[in-house]
């Protein structure tokens, strides 16, 4: 007869080892590909359910604290530091790639373009949220100046901040959205936060706000926006620093 205690211990051991079974479900394993296939379903559903829907906005009284800085909180290339010292007046935003008219827009010119403010909730992939007021230029207005070519599908953001420093050199943050999100009415290049100039900790002089996605898509320290028809040439092929490290490219949940 099987000793009940042994049976229970055996069951507990099985349950514990069960937790380690999926330890291999990362990276390029077939199991990971199976699990990750659900991400396509998630993105397709999100697009189907809210192609143009607006993210919820909040009241000024809902801003009860400063925006919490996260990710890179500074950039330290000599070029960036000298710009920061000059109040970002020498800053030029470049629009390149699949556009009819490549642009170089100064910080001053950007602030003279159509302006928009929105009080929205920033959701970190870790689980926390923070409400703040963001002010900037609609990305659509900037892209219209550059006239994207018909073949353009994505906007890739190149940044000043080195998110990783290793023996092989620095990895500068990069992120991308498709043109559906790029032309969404709440997608702005923010230069203001809570009625002040965007602080360095939040990606000065400009950061992206793409309101229906998680925090890591809200790209900071942007210097160049490149339009492209494929994300394969960027980073490890997903066109996003965190997507290349296992997170969803479409961060809607």
């Amino acid at each position: 007869m099987i000793d009940r205690r042994k049976l229970l211990l055996g069951g507990a051991a099985l349950a514990l080892s069960g937790c380690k079974v999926l330890d291999d479900a990362a990276g390029d394993s077939a199991l990971h590909k199976l699990f990750a296939s659900a991400e396509n379903l998630t993105m397709a559903s999100q697009r189907l359910l809210s192609p143009n829907a607006l993210a919820p906005t909040f009241e000024p009284s809902d801003i009860r604290q400063g925006q919490r800085p996260n990710g890179s909180v500074n950039a330290d290339s000599p070029e960036y530091l000298s710009m920061a010292a000059a109040g970002f007046e020498p800053y030029q935003l470049r629009i390149t790639g699949l556009v009819e008219r490549p642009q170089s827009i100064s910080y001053g010119a950007l602030r003279n373009m159509p302006q928009q403010s929105q009080i929205t909730r920033h959701d970190c992939v870790e689980g926390w949220s923070c409400i703040a007021k963001w002010t900037g230029t609609p990305l659509s207005a900037v892209l219209n100046e550059a006239k994207p070519k018909l073949t353009a599908r994505y906007a890739v953001f190149h940044c000043f901040d080195a998110i990783e420093r290793g023996l092989s050199g620095e990895v500068f943050y990069y992120e991308s959205i498709d043109l559906i999100d790029a032309y969404h009415p709440q997608t702005i290049l923010a230069y203001g936060l809570n009625d002040a100039a965007l602080p360095i900790a939040h990606g000065a002089p400009i950061r992206l706000r793409v309101e229906r996605q998680l925090g890591y898509k809200q790209t900071k320290f942007i210097h160049t926006i490149e339009l492209t028809d494929s994300l394969l040439p960027y980073g490890a092929g997903k066109g996003s620093y965190w997507a290349d490290r296992g997170y969803e490219w479409y961060a809607g949940i």
Binding site: Q46, R64, W128, G252
Partner: protein, 266 residues
């Protein structure tokens, strides 16, 4: 008398849910570990306090100390919560998938099983409306009148094996299928910034994204509670008979108590 109690679709969906909930819970704890604090409201208070539960670590007299704070009360949980195996992590490695810290992998697996759960629930709801199983789960007036007696019987571990579920079973299974699982799905969707644009009213229903996250967590605890009671009842009511009915469908009833109209051989 041996009767065919559980239809094939009921048995298949039952086991898929069991697998889904196992992985959803353990990947959910992995995700929770990335920010092990729960709040009430739209946002997380960093400059003010709207936290209701926080699992953390602090430097104690004997090194790292795991602490849990619930509604302002602090508990030392070193070894299990906050600090385990000398490492700072809210839930220990044995309770997360993967066992090591990987928010990305945890999320990928969580959403895969979330889809599987939603898909299985949808199939089950349609099939169970068509085959009458839903009706078997909703207590009728006679059931409710018999509730005190059924509670007394359960308390004395006196079980009646009949073709139909007893009222406590109906209430337990019904609240998992019609309350807890829909609540898990709804609060899960309320945490999605994309779905907030689709259905902003969910934020009003749950009073904010962070409250939804807290309800998601509490409902998970409730589901674990259900699982515990479910296992105890199976052990107490005769594990072989109970297991046979959820695997093969066949269930032995107490002959005397079987109402002939319940003994369907379908």
């Amino acid at each position: 008398m041996l009767i065919y109690r559980q239809k094939l679709i009921t048995r298949i969906t039952h086991w898929i849910w069991a697998i889904c909930l196992f992985f959803l819970m353990l990947t959910g704890l992995q995700i929770f570990n990335a920010h092990p604090t729960l709040y009430i409201g739209q946002e997380s208070g960093f400059e003010y306090d709207n936290a209701v539960l926080a699992i953390g670590a602090r430097e104690g007299a004997d090194g790292l100390q795991g602490v849990v704070q619930v509604f302002g009360q602090t508990f030392d949980t070193t070894g299990v919560l906050g600090v385990s195996d000398g490492e700072v992590r809210a839930f220990p490695a044995a309770l997360t998938i993967p066992s090591y810290t990987s928010l990305a992998t945890g999320r990928t697996i969580h959403f895969f099983f979330a889809w599987l759960l939603v898909g299985t629930l949808t199939v089950w709801v349609i099939a169970s409306i068509l085959n009458g199983h839903v009706r078997q789960l909703i207590p009728n007036l006679a059931d409710l009148r018999g509730l005190p007696r059924d509670i007394a019987d359960h308390a004395r571990l006196r079980f009646h094996h009949t073709a139909s579920y007893n009222v406590l079973q109906k209430l337990a299974y019904g609240s998992v299928l019609f309350v807890a699982l829909p609540l898990m799905i709804a609060t899960g969707l309320t945490m999605s910034p994309s779905f907030n644009a689709t259905a902003p009213w969910l934020l009003d229903v749950f009073q904010g994204r962070q409250t939804a996250r807290t309800i998601h967590f509490i409902t998970m605890i409730a589901l674990i509670g259900f699982f515990g009671v479910h296992m105890l009842m199976i052990l107490a009511a005769g594990p072989l008979n109970e297991l046979r009915s959820i695997i093969t469908g066949w269930y032995r009833t107490d002959d005397a108590q079987t109402d002939p109209k319940d003994a369907r051989h379908d």
